[in-house]
Amino acid sequence: MVAKGMKAYKGKSQVGLKGEIAVWFSSLGLSLGLLMIVALLGVIAYNGLSVFWPKRVVQVEFDPQPASDLGSRSVVAGIITSQKTKSPDSVEEWRLFVGNKDQYGISFTYFDRGSLLNVTQPEGLLVLERTAYGKAIGYPEHISGPTGKIISAEHPNFAQRLGSLVKECQDRGKEIRKLETREIGAIHEALENLRLHQLRLERQSELSSEDREALERIDEERARYESLFTTLATRARLLRDLQISHKLHYRLASGEEIDLPIGEIHQFFYPNQIGFSGRAAVFWNHIKEFLLSEPREANTEGGVFPAIFGTFVMTLFMCVIVTPFGVLAAIYLCEYAKDGVFVRLVRIAINNLAGVPSIVFGVFGLGFFVYWVGGTLDQLFFSLRLPTPTFGTGGILWASLTLALMTVPVVIVATEEALTAVSPGLRESSMACGASRWQTIQRIVLPASAPGVLTGMILAMARGAGEVAPLMLLGVVKIAPSLPLDDQFPFLHLDRKFMHLGFHIYDLGFQSPDSEAALPMVFATTLLLIVLVVVLNLAAILIRNRLRRKYQMAGF
């Protein structure tokens, strides 16, 4: 068969045939690669997005099996999360997400389709997303206030009323959070500063009368802050009481009756009543929550905003450090260094640096930046706070610096390539105009090679943003109490620990107590990380293309 083909080609040159085969092979390789990438992205995108789509809830009846997790219950409502047909006896097995973890203690349960007596989709079922224990699924009965029952679930305005109460509680929740983190936080900080001031005064061997006065003043101020603290704390407590003053009374499909404070409800919907637009609205709300809110319940619920923010700030910060550093190094190597043994050694070192495993950089960052540089900084500037470290512990600064170190070879190599690509004629004409070497580099060579520098930055970003291993040694945490950038002086808190999407994925998938329930979040977070890297890259590519157009060489 091949021989026939050969014959047909005999008239033409042998090279043509070989070339054809090579083309086939390379295109095969390309399509295989593309196929794998598309499949991977497809799986992630499908799973990541379907998390947010509200699915219908079924109610199933079955013969109670006292040995199972559900005990003697014979009815349960839940969302079908998988339907598998086992091969030998072709029994269909359903996995049902039943929620109500406060009552059942489990998230999922399995049924053989054949053992189910009855499967329905009751319209009255309500899905509640709560601040604790995840979702609840049940039939609403009524809402009660401090003085008794307010509205029954049969009332036509019930959903509306519940919605407005939830909204009210959410607003109050925001106020409470502001009170507790901002205002009370500020008081804590002021008290800490007073303590440090006092410590500094007391460490002096002799106290002047002025110092003694100052100490007294500190005591006064402390008392003032403490009374302020009590007032604010009381107000917060009052608000908290209001959060639980109204309760939603609901009944599970299996019969349990529960009172849930409205303040614990995030969102609710009737999964079997709403149509497509209702579903889309819930979907949209879920995505908004995922992107913009903080995680709850050991990160398995809520959003990932701090992790997005941490990743973003860290990556940007890394770029800000690595770009000038790499560009300067490349300029030296390319423009000033005389070609010799030393330069060649440096080049070899740079190329090999790119192959060092990232965890090694993590260890180096920990030893050098955190313990040595950070420890020294602490002793010099923050000695009063010791033994609590300020910079002597992992933080976003050290993580960015270490990643910058890790990615600097990429920037150097790309920049050098771009610098050598600038035509010698341009340099000569600049020098002939009376420009010095540095002026030539700064005004002509660098702008002309900016697209190449950006390419290096893009590559560095792509490598740095997805890196997790070194970060685990350098200040990434499961839950960070505050963001590395906020409206409190000095705005950019480089010593803070931070959350990171890559670590978040690892943490959810492998460290969480109920990793099966966390799986959807793993997909969603992975999707988000990929999207974030793509967006950062696209932004850089757009800038690069604009620059290219600007500095495009004329076609001659």
Binding site: L426, S429, S430, A432, C433, A435, R443, Y551, A554
Partner: protein
């Protein structure tokens, strides 16, 4: 070793009388100048003088060292770390290698136009005023004036006056070359070096540049390297013929073309060699 022989005596006298002109009249002289790239000698014991306000053409076969000598006048060869020289070049009796003279100030006095026009990746305006910018002059009104005057001198003003902010790469190749000339004269140099400025241009653009050289020689001393004999004959006052790093003949252009003294010169200008 042949030197600048076969000089017309009268011309010599005129040159000598010009040398005695009052100070301020700049002229260039090359004295026993040799040049090496590494171990290869490129120029051998050259001697020649050029008058102020004249156009001198360098001709000779490819690789004979014309560009190297031209680039010696603004010390551009020194960008190559292998470059070495012996002998001296003076402009207005001041050695260009004088330790008191900075290379940068020398390059401000000696502008250059290259064979391949290479505008900077900047706007037309910024290209013209580049030499002022690097000299630290940023006064807008001065820059505007210089830009207009230089572009007018380079006969480009009318074509670009409405698009000064556009990228220089939007110009045609001929316009780009005139832009490079405008760039070279923006800083008011005394000497302009041109290395085959028309080799990439069509006849009309070439004619424009030649006309320009005619106008510019009132103010500037021009040295031009060219492979085009007609061009050398049209634009230059005197012509130097080089052969393998030696100056074979240097005389008034008319003499070189009509009455060459050396066989090699005759062969070259009549198109029988090179």
């Amino acid at each position: 070793m042949e030197k600048a022989v076969n000089m017309d005596p009268e011309w010599e006298n005129r040159a000598a009388s010009r040398r005695q002109d009052p100070p301020g009249r700049s002229y260039i002289s090359v004295k026993d100048y040799s040049f090496w790239f590494g171990h290869t000698q490129v120029l051998q014991d050259l001697n020649l003088d050029m008058q102020k306000g004249s156009v001198t053409a360098f001709i000779g076969p490819s690789g004979c060292g014309k560009s190297t000598l031209l680039r010696s006048f603004n010390r551009l060869n020194e960008l190559d770390p292998q470059a070495r020289h012996r002998g001296d070049i003076t402009i207005e009796d001041l050695s260009i290698y004088d330790p008191a003279v900075e290379v940068i100030s020398l390059r401000k006095r000696v502008g250059m136009v290259f064979q391949k026009s290479n505008p900077f990746p900047k706007s037309i305006y910024e290209n013209v005023v580049y030499s002022l910018r690097v000299a630290g002059k940023n006064n807008k009104s001065i820059l505007d004036e210089v830009a207009e005057n230089s572009l007018r001198s380079a006969a480009l003003w009318d074509e670009v006056k409405d698009r000064l902010g556009e990228s220089a790469y939007s110009l045609s190749v001929g316009q780009m070359q005139r832009l490079c000339i405008a760039r070279a004269i923006a800083n008011e140099p005394e000497v302009i070096l041109m290395d085959e400025p028309c080799s990439a241009l069509d006849p009309i653009a070439t004619a424009k540049i030649e006309e320009l050289i005619h106008d510019l020689k009132i103010k500037y001393t021009i040295i031009i390297v060219t492979h085009n004999m007609q061009q050398a004959a049209r634009v230059s006052d005197s012509t130097a013929f080089f052969y393998t790093g030696n100056l074979i003949e240097y005389n008034k252009t008319q003499e070189i073309f009509l009455n060459p003294q050396n066989d090699k010169t005759e062969a070259y200008v009549s198109g029988r060699s090179g």
